[in-house]
Amino acid sequence: MSQEMSPPPPHPAAHGADGLAERRRAVPPNVDLVKGVWRENPVLIQLLGLCPTLAVTNSVANSVVMGIATFFVLVGSSLLVSTFRRRIPNEVRIATYILIIATFVTIAEFALQALVPGIYKALGPFVALIVVNCIILGRQEAFAGRNPVGRSVLDAVGMGAGFMIALLIMGSVREILGSGTFLGVSLFGPRYEPWVIMVLPPGGFFTLAFVLLTISWWKRRQPALAKAAEPRGLVVAERAA
């Protein structure tokens, strides 16, 4: 796929002292875990995985189920990819990653179909489309393929949680305004006239636009925070996905 476009990373096995460096890890574990939640949030900051963020967030229940399924696939793939990272030849790494991801997604699909058939139907093709969610392949390529298992799983848990938080924000805003309910429970009584547009496609675009506006407003008010989230080459490369 993108072997020609980006310079291949050095083969992990080429570094003899890698194991030593792992034990003396310079990054404390909580950094790997927390960065995905806010500072490098895959959706809100890196703007990845926007298709599901917009498509399935017309209710909180759909958002939660989608978040859990993606979390499962991301953590499972990162675990396997980082475990076998020295054994996967560089030339076929993308193909192998996709194979691993597709396997987890198919399992997730079967599980959802068996456990929550109603929501599975509402999510439509977007469960299968987790395969092409750029967050997942992006994390394998940028992190799990080069880092030890422990760090990779922490990274995946953080990113998965960040994705879930973004979906929850979108789902809550859209369901509360668009249906007047939260998880199906009526909030404002029968006299509330729901803003139906919010659960329709345009509402998805508008809600995300307002969320991003709020975030850039917030960042502007906190220059220190903005400085911490300095743009990195990695983020730019991933955005393309």
Partner: protein, 227 residues
């Protein structure tokens, strides 16, 4: 490797060549082959474990829908549409899942109460699929339930959520005619939803078209006294 998660399934992967610098094509193929094989095995297991549950879910949805539109029959038979006839058993060599099916419900004492028919066509936004119950003796509908639709929330989706609309399909005579709200004057007429005329008309058209196609078959089936 010092980290703990590495124990899992290590034996499934070929031992790496001592010199990773020169990667042979055979090793690339081996990696993908082993990966593919492991993936295949995992998927077959997952499929086997979940399939009974998935099929039970599907069957339950259909079962509930048939019960609803035939007013809770004692039992029902599945009939297969083959050419111009309804058959109790699919002809040999034909996959029953590929045949159109209708369901014949029986009331107390084995008396047939009517047929449940699944049909679908284009609605306002996308395809609408529904099931309805039909009594060939009285030419009346017994009930209607939307199985699948993407009609506009708050307007078009009233075809499945608004009892005032849905309940009209009990006891209405075919073929159906749609009229504006409050203008109902004959047993063939159905009042359409204000603001969702196209969705309402689509439902009426789907039922009329299905009965035009299948009506003669179910009428014939009852008259032969097989029911």
């Amino acid at each position: 490797m010092s980290d703990g998660g590495a124990i899992r399934a290590t034996e499934q992967v070929p031992v790496p060549a001592p010199q990773p610098a020169e990667v042979r094509a055979s090793r690339l193929l081996a990696t993908l082959g082993v990966g593919g094989a492991v993936a295949g095995v995992l998927l077959v297991i997952a499929y086997g474990v979940t399939l009974p549950r998935i099929e039970a879910n599907r069957a339950r949805v259909l079962h509930l829908a048939i019960n609803e539109v035939l007013k809770a029959p004692e039992r029902y038979d599945t009939l297969y549409v083959v050419g111009k006839a309804l058959l109790r058993k699919p002809p040999p060599g034909v996959d029953p899942k590929k045949l159109e099916q209708v369901y014949l419900g029986y009331g107390a004492g084995g008396r047939p109460v009517g047929f449940a028919i699944v049909a679908g066509a284009a609605g306002f936004q996308d395809v609408i699929r529904l099931i309805f119950g039909y009594d060939p003796k009285t030419h009346e509908l017994l009930g209607m339930k939307v199985l699948e639709s993407k009609e506009t929330p708050g307007l078009g989706d009233k075809i499945e959520k608004d009892p005032a609309f849905v309940d009209q399909f009990r006891g209405v005579r075919v073929s159906l005619v749609g009229v504006k709200k409050g203008k109902r004057s004959s047993p063939r007429e159905v009042e359409m939803i204000t603001g969702a005329t196209i969705s309402s008309k689509a439902v009426i058209r789907i039922i009329n078209d299905a009965l035009e196609r299948l009506g003669p078959l179910v009428d014939g089936y009852t008259q032969e006294g097989k029911g």
